[in-house]
Amino acid sequence: MSTTGIAAKSKFANGHPADYRRVYVWEMPVRAYHWINAIVLVVLCITGYLIGAPIRAFYASEAYQQYWFGWIRFLHFLCAYVYVFNFLMRIYWGFVGNKYAKWNNFFPLTKAQREEIMDVLKTDVFQVKLHGAISTGHNALAAFIYFFTFLAFCAQSITGFALYSSMSNSWIPRMFTWIVPLMGGEMSVRYWHHLFMWFFVTFIVVHIYLAFYHDYIEGRGTISSIVGGWKFDKMPEKKD
C-alpha cells in the first residue's frame, strides 16, 4: 500500500478542513517582481529573436514611411532596462523581505535544503515519489536553479549592455564597454547574447510546467499563490 503524501493528506482532508492553514508566502513586491519579469522576459525573447532574424512584417515603398524594426529594437532596450532594475529590486527584497523571499533560500547551505533537493529530484525527475515533504516557499531545488537563472540574468544584462554601449552615451551601458574586447569583439558578444535567449526559452517551458505540476500533485494552490500570495500549508501532524 502506498504511503504517499496524497494518501495522508486525503485522510486529513476528509472532514477536517482546518488541518490546512493559509500562509502568506509571496509578498506583493515578490509577486510584482515575478509578473514584471515574466512579461518583460517574454517581450525580450520575442523582440530579441526578431532582431536576430527579422521578418517581413510590413511593406513600405520608402524607408521613412515606417520604423517598425526601430520600434522592435526600442522595445527590446526599454524592456532590458525594466528587467535589470526589476532584478535589482528583487535582490534588495532578498534582504528585507519575508523568510520565503530571503537570499539564503537560493543557496543550498543547510543540510535540510540539500535533503530537500534530493526529495524534489525524486518527486519531479525520477518520479519515484508523488509528493515529498516539500517546503512552503521555493523548494530547495527550484531555488537553487533560480540562482543559476540569476547568473544567466547577469550574463544577459552584461552582454546586452556591452552590445548597447556603442550606441549610447548613458553611463550604465558605458560601464560595460570593456566586455567587448574581453569576449573577442561584438560578433561573439552577440553570439552569446543570442544563445542565452534559448536558455530563457527553455527555462520558461520548464518553469511553467513544474509550477502546474506541483499545484497538481501537492494540491495547495501553487498556481494561485503567485496571484494572491497565499499558499496552503499542512498543519503540524496531529495524532488522532
Binding site: 524607408a63 552577440r190 534559448w198 517551458v205 500533485i217
Partner: protein
C-alpha cells in the same frame, strides 16, 4: 643629417604651391582642422623626414596594394617617394644582402627616430620557423626592428588581430604585433585597411610626431570610433525593417538593408561608409554586398560570411544557435509532455488507492 620633406620636394622640382597643396591634403587626410595646416607646413619644412621601414610577415600584401591606391596621389607619392622608405620587401629595388644591409643601416642610423610599419602576423610556434626572412625568424626580426622604433604601426587585420593566419586552429600560432612588443602599437585593422585611413595614420605620426588617439583596442579613434552601420547610407532601411532577402530579389535592386544577408556592419568598427574605397567611389555595402566585418577580430571564425549569426560549433555547418535552441526547446516541450502523461497515470493510481482506502474505512 637628413633632409626635411620640403627640402627634398624642392630638390625634386616641386613648387612652393604644390608643397602647400600637399600639406593641405596631408592635414585633411590626418583629420586636422584648417588651422592645423600651418602646423603641417611647419613640420614638413623643418622636421627631418623620418625613416620608415615596412616589414612583411605572414600576410598577402593586400595592405600594400591598398596603400598604393590612396586617393591623394600627391600624398602617396610624397610618402613613398619623398619619405625615406628604407626597407620594404615589396617595393624596394634592392634585394638579398643589400636589402638586409639597408634595414640594418636604417635601424642603426635613426635610433629612436624611425617608424616601423608592420604588415602581417608573426608565427610563434616551433620557434617561429613558419616565417623566415634572410635566415631569421619573423619574431626575431620584429624584436630587432621594434626595439629602437619611434612608433609602430600594425597594418591590417593580420598585424592587428591575426586575421586568417590566426583563424582556428591557427596552426602556426600566428600572433598580432601588439602581443609581441612592449611598446604602444597603432592597430589599423581591415583586410585590407582603407588606403586613405592608412595614409592618414602615417601622416598623423609624421606630422605631429605622436600617436593618434587610440581606443581600447589600439585603433585610431578617428577612423574606428563608429560602426560601419552607424554611418551606412542604407541605415534608414534597417530601422524601417526593409531587408534584402536574397541577392537577386527586388529589394536588392531597391537598395534595402543587407542585414539578413549577413551584413556585419552593426558589429564592425571602420570608416568604410564615410571614407569609402578607391578614391571615394564606393564601399562593399554600396556595391550591394554585405559587410564581412574584415576589421573585426576573429571574423573568419564568426562565419559564415552570408549568415547573420555564427554557426554553432560541433553541429555541422548549417546549425546556428537558433537551430540548436529550437531543438532544445522542442525537446524540453516533448519531455514535459511525457512527464505530464506519466504524472497523470501515477496520480490516477493514487486517487484510486485513496478511494479504496476511504471505502474500506466507511
Amino acid at each position: 643629417m637628413g633632409q626635411s620633406i620640403w627640402q627634398s620636394m624642392e630638390k625634386k622640382g616641386y613648387s612652393r604651391r604644390q608643397f602647400l597643396q600637399f600639406c593641405s591634403a596631408a592635414a585633411a587626410a590626418a583629420g586636422f582642422a584648417q588651422s592645423g595646416v600651418a602646423q603641417v607646413v611647419s613640420a614638413f619644412e623643418k622636421k627631418e623626414k623620418p625613416a620608415v621601414v615596412w616589414m612583411h610577415f605572414q600576410e598577402c600584401t593586400c595592405c600594400s596594394e591598398s596603400f598604393i591606391r590612396a586617393s591623394h596621389p600627391i600624398v602617396a607619392d610624397a610618402l613613398l617617394d619623398v619619405l625615406s622608405l628604407n626597407y620594404t620587401e615589396t617595393l624596394m629595388a634592392a634585394s638579398g644582402f643589400q636589402a638586409e644591409k639597408s634595414l640594418q643601416d636604417t635601424i642603426k642610423n635613426n635610433k629612436g627616430k624611425y617608424i616601423v610599419l608592420v604588415e602581417g602576423a608573426v608565427p610563434t610556434k616551433d620557434g617561429g620557423v613558419y616565417c623566415m626572412i634572410g635566415g631569421k625568424t619573423a619574431e626575431s626580426i620584429l624584436q630587432e626592428v621594434s626595439k629602437d622604433a619611434a612608433a609602430i604601426v600594425a597594418w591590417g587585420s593580420c598585424a592587428s588581430n591575426g586575421c586568417v593566419q590566426a583563424a582556428k586552429p591557427n596552426p602556426t600560432h600566428a600572433t598580432p604585433i601588439h602581443k609581441l612588443v612592449d611598446k604602444p602599437v597603432i592597430n589599423v585593422p581591415g583586410c585590407p585597411p582603407i588606403a586613405d585611413v592608412m595614409m592618414a595614420v602615417v601622416t598623423h605620426v609624421l606630422v605631429l610626431g605622436q600617436i593618434p588617439a587610440l581606443d581600447s583596442l589600439g585603433r585610431p579613434k578617428e577612423f574606428y570610433g563608429r560602426r560601419v552601420h552607424d554611418t551606412c547610407y542604407r541605415r534608414p532601411n534597417y530601422d524601417a525593417g526593409l531587408f534584402v532577402e536574397s541577392f537577386d530579389d527586388e529589394n536588392a535592386r531597391k537598395g534595402y538593408c543587407l542585414y539578413k544577408l549577413g551584413c556585419k556592419g552593426p558589429v564592425t568598427y571602420n570608416a568604410c561608409s564615410v571614407v569609402r574605397w578607391n578614391e571615394g567611389t564606393s564601399y562593399p555595402i554600396q556595391s550591394g554586398h554585405p559587410c564581412i566585418g574584415c576589421s573585426e577580430e576573429g571574423f573568419w571564425d564568426n562565419g559564415p560570411l552570408y549568415q547573420h549569426l555564427s554557426t554553432f560549433p560541433g553541429f555541422g555547418i548549417e546549425s546556428t544557435a537558433d537551430t540548436v535552441g529550437t531543438f532544445v526547446a522542442a525537446a524540453t516541450l516533448a519531455g514535459v509532455a511525457a512527464h505530464a502523461v506519466v504524472t497523470n497515470v501515477r496520480k490516477h493510481k493514487v486517487i484510486a488507492e485513496v478511494h479504496a482506502e476511504e471505502e474500506k474505512e466507511q
